[in-house]
Amino acid sequence: MPRLPDGDPAPADGALDAQALAGLAGVPFGMYLHVPFCATRCGYCDFNTYTPRELLAPTRATPGATDPRAGLPSLVASYTDAARAEIDLAARVLGADAPVVDTIFVGGGTPTLLPTAELTGLVGAVRDTFGLRPDAEVTTEANPDSVDEASLAALAEGGITRVSLGMQSAVPHVLGVLDRTHDPANVARAVRGARAAGLAVSLDLIYGTPGESLQDWRASLEAVLALEPDHVSAYALVVEEGTALAARVRRGAVPAPSDDDEADKYELADELLGAAGYDWYEVSNFTRTSRGRCRHNEGYWAGGNWWGIGPGAHGHVGGVRWWNVKHPARYASMLAAGDSPAAGREALTPEQRHDERVLLGVRLADGLPLSDLDARGRAAVAGLVADGLLDPGAALGGRPAREGGEAQRRAVLTLRGRLLADTVVRALLGF
């Protein structure tokens, strides 16, 4: 699991200063709910998630039980109590400035490991406490194996508007390396069920898995296109430190992913998705219409505000970032004691906010207005265009300067630039 960042201590009451609270006005506000449970842990995953077996002392687990969900109900009860307490805490901290919520995203972990009523109950708690805009986007991640037609309908009934299914691959041997146990056929069933329930559907894919050929990757992309989802996310596999996969790579049991291979696969994804009408709107995210975009995630990239509920969740309000303790038991006990579960926070300096604005903004197809860059960054633009990393039309075109054309110029990545976004960001930050 990734370590929490180093930061300053967070106050016990979770209070935010007036300057941070002032940043709430006029900016969309999101709620992220982290569900830290999975039935099994996948070898590549370093998210803050736990199996019931890991969390329960052996004496409390039913002797001889093989059901990976044994003991889950008590964990869920403790978790949902704590999460509701944090929703209340958020309302107290934001006080009169508390905005109505624009988006909710339930991630994990495996949110659909929660009984549907518990999951929608948390959404209800947010709605009851903060209010939810009528057109709010409410997404939950879902494991294709842990949903069916009925549960998807119940989710929709409970206020969910969008599901993001962890498909990862359509190729069994690739899923095997990832330790994903779902039956590829279940993905199609889940998509149909979600559609029937009126939910928008996003499919997640991972490319660059050891042993995945370009042909395998093409097969996964074609399977996705056949399902005609509203939204596709495609992530290069990162071998995270401390995972079982990292250990296998270190031992030489599987080859490390190669950047060159991942570049080939990204280019293939861009080609096939593009041909089917799915355009990128963020480096790893594709959709057919601008309405299909994930507004919650757009909030992250636009420097928006959100509160992260749950163990290990991160939040951001008005230039203050904070993160919760990671262990569900510690998280629950802090909230039970009436304290904020935050483990640390950082108040961003103007330079840090600038760095974030550039590193996030440049990832978007809408691009980063050149007016957001400092002099060194603007000086780097021509070179990046010459290197084929920035789109010449967006960066240099537009109307003449005297007609205000300058203001419309933006740094928009080319296909090559998307793959080398890190290089571009460094140049735009002047180093």
């Binding site: 290069a236 950047d259 060159d260 480096v283 790893s284 951001h316």
Partner: protein, 658 residues
């Protein structure tokens, strides 16, 4: 600040105390508190002779010639103890090696002289033990120490036999007509073979095996007999007490409290406090602020007469004003002829030293200025490298000298340094007959060259005879010419080679050790120069020459050097967003080529809530790391790549991951 004082020869008690473990410290302090103008008496010396009032016939000046590890310091300690100069409880192992680096490496860099009282046959004597440096780079200093003595103890490990360097110093001592007392040490070791090595020594110096004394510095066995033999065998010094004074400087050490402390051996006349002295080579004059002897702490005295050994303090701050080998005389009544044998220290090996952090340049300059005060052989001048920035081209006596200076700069001045590949000095004659002295490959002329001369050395290798083949092969590869070969015993052989100095400065000794399983020993001394077919190989990154990697090599080895460097760099330099060709070239002719493929992907796939802080922190780290990047044209080269490429390791692991 104190760092320089660490090298002090026991002249400043404060400086010494710092190096002593606590327990010994108290004992040493107690000893100093006693108002001891003269050293304490021992059972062996009841009536010590005072300096300045010692008849020459009662003086014995000797040194110990030994290889590293053969126990010289332990034996010297034992002698100090047996003569009562150091009390047992104040004894610290290897009393005479004071400097940290010396102690850690078990080698002596700078010599000292200790005056020991001794009684033999009911008569008092003075034994002056002059310590000699123990490494090939300091041959000249050794020769001056030897010149200050009438005799030498040839100390050989009874388990290992004589080593090349000891042999070289033995020959040097014999050339100086010193009386040699052969001694086998460590006879207490189970592996000792004193009979075998007594034969070997007898063969070398022309004595009988039974003439070899057998001692154990560790247990003290045989040490008193040795002291007796020193009195019996070594002739007393001879000089004219009424002639104008002449004293030879055999060591010169900077101490941060007292300035330069000069060690001398009086040949004629005498030296007295408060008189003005003149240095005969530099004509510089100084007032003698203090004169004394080391016993083993400095003790002021009323002067030094014929044959005596002691120290002088004049208040000068730079050892260059008090050069080893120079003759000290009385300014008012000067000698007309200097003692022979003086020569200016001449650097043999050159390397560029650059601070890794460019802003440390002034610290490096100050540090070199400070080290220079104590190291007459250290020469340097500022130079600029396109790749490495501002630094210095530094000249050294040899590789150990280079290593010691570099280590002291890093350790005592907290500097992180890059040193370029060491090279020697070349004399290049152009078509028009003009000469260029090249101490840095980048000065190698581009145009038509008539000839290039390189320095050569006369090298002696001692090894078990099993390894003759391996040694010949290595020396052949290094362009050596066999000059002769002698068996010291049926199992041990002495091989004499002429080798280009450039071929041994890099990793010759390491190779020699590894090819002989550690048994071979090496000694060499400069032996003029020779014409050689040498070329400069340049390394180009994307067409831009990287000056720090240029090297002057023999034409037959140019290709190997080019291939090695190009491959090393391909593995060390991170992929850039464009393809980077690495070429090795002689002039405009490309002799080797590698390519660093362009990087195609560096983007982070996911960037959501918690990823943002992590990503930003990573960027902040990269921003810091950028300061450790050097630009070669458009190519970013990390400092680490320079360091690794310039290191001796031939093999570099592939870059991990990207």
């Amino acid at each position: 600040m104190m760092v320089v004082g660490l090298r002090s020869a026991g002249v400043a008690p404060g400086a010494v105390r710092r190096n002593v473990p606590h327990r010994t410290d108290r004992a040493a302090g107690a000893r100093r508190r006693r108002p001891a103008r003269y050293p304490p008496l021992s059972t062996l010396a009841r009536t010590p002779l005072a300096p300045h009032a010692t008849p020459p016939q009662r003086i014995r000046n000797f040194c110990i010639i030994a290889h590293i590890d053969h126990g010289k310091s332990t034996l010297a300690d034992r002698m100090l103890q047996k003569t009562g100069v150091v009390e047992e409880r104040a004894m610290r192992a290897q009393y005479l090696d004071r400097m940290d680096i010396e102690r850690e490496r078990g080698i002596t860099i700078k010599s000292q002289a200790v005056r020991m009282p001794f009684e033999s046959g009911g008569e008092p004597y003075v034994l002056n033990m002059i310590d000699t440096p123990g490494h090939v780079d300091f041959t000249y200093e050794v020769s001056r120490s030897l010149a200050a003595c009438e005799g030498a103890v040839l100390l050989v490990d009874a388990a290992q036999g004589i080593e090349a360097q000891t042999l070289a110093n033995l020959y040097l001592a014999m050339e100086n007509d010193l009386t040699i007392i052969p001694v086998l040490n460590k006879i207490d070791l189970p592996a000792a073979q004193p009979d075998k090595f007594a034969e070997e020594l007898a063969g070398l110096i022309g004595c009988e095996p039974e003439d070899c004394l057998r001692v154990s510095g560790k247990t003290g066995e045989g040490v008193e007999d040795l002291l007796e033999e020193i009195v019996r065998q070594i002739p007393p010094p001879v000089g004219d007490p009424d002639a104008p004074s002449r004293a030879m400087i055999f060591d010169s050490v900077y101490d941060s409290y007292r300035g330069v402390v000069t060690y001398v051996r009086v040949v004629d006349g005498n030296l007295n406090p408060r008189e003005r002295i003149a240095m005969m080579s530099t004509k510089a004059t100084h007032e003698l602020l203090e004169i004394g002897v080391i016993s083993p702490e400095p003790v002021k005295c009323d002067g030094l007469g014929v044959g005596e050994v002691g120290y002088l303090i004049t208040g000068v701050k730079d050892v260059r004003q008090s050069r080893v080998g120079d003759t000290v005389t009385n300014q008012a009544k000067p000698a007309t002829q200097a003692l022979g044998g003086y020569r200016d220290p001449r650097p043999m090996v050159f390397s560029g030293l650059y601070p890794i952090d460019g802003s440390d340049y002034p610290i490096l300059r100050d540090a070199l200025d400070k080290l220079k005060l104590n190291d007459a052989a250290l020469v340097y001048e500022p130079e600029t490298s396109a790749a490495l920035g501002f630094g210095f081209r530094v000249g050294f006596l040899g590789m150990l000298h280079l290593e010691i200076v570099r280590e002291r700069l890093e350790r005592e001045f907290n500097l992180d340094l890059i040193s370029t590949l060491p090279n020697v000095e070349y004399d290049v004659t152009l078509e028009d007959g003009s000469h260029v002295e090249v101490t840095n490959p980048s000065e190698f002329p581009e145009g038509k060259i008539r000839e290039v001369r390189e320095p050569v050395v006369r090298a002696t290798v001692l090894a078990p005879s099993d390894f003759i083949g391996a040694i010949m092969e290595l020396c052949q590869q290094r362009r050596g010419t066999l000059r002769g070969m002698d068996y010291l015993s049926p199992e041990r052989v002495e091989m004499r080679y002429t080798l280009p100095l450039a071929e041994i400065v890099f990793d010759f000794f390491d190779q020699l050790k590894s090819k002989t399983r550690g048994y071979a020993s090496l000694d060499y001394e400069p032996d003029g120069d020779q014409v050689a077919d040498l070329v400069k190989v340049d390394i180009l990154l994307q067409g831009d020459q990287v000056d720090a990697f240029s090297s002057i090599v023999h034409r037959d080895k140019a290709y190997a050097y080019g291939v090695l460097m190009a491959e090393k760099l391909r593995k060390l330099i991170p992929r850039q967003q464009f393809e980077v060709p690495i070429q090795a070239a002689i002039g405009s002719r490309i002799i080797a080529r590698e390519t660093i493929r362009a990087i195609r992907k560096d983007v982070l796939a996911k960037c959501y809530g918690g990823d943002i802080s992590r990503k930003r922190k990573l960027l902040e780290k990269q921003k810091e790391g950028k300061k450790r990047m050097k630009m070669v044209g458009r190519v970013e080269v990390p400092q680490e790549a320079f360091i690794a490429a310039l290191s001796n390791d031939a093999v570099v692991p592939e870059k991990a991951g990207k």
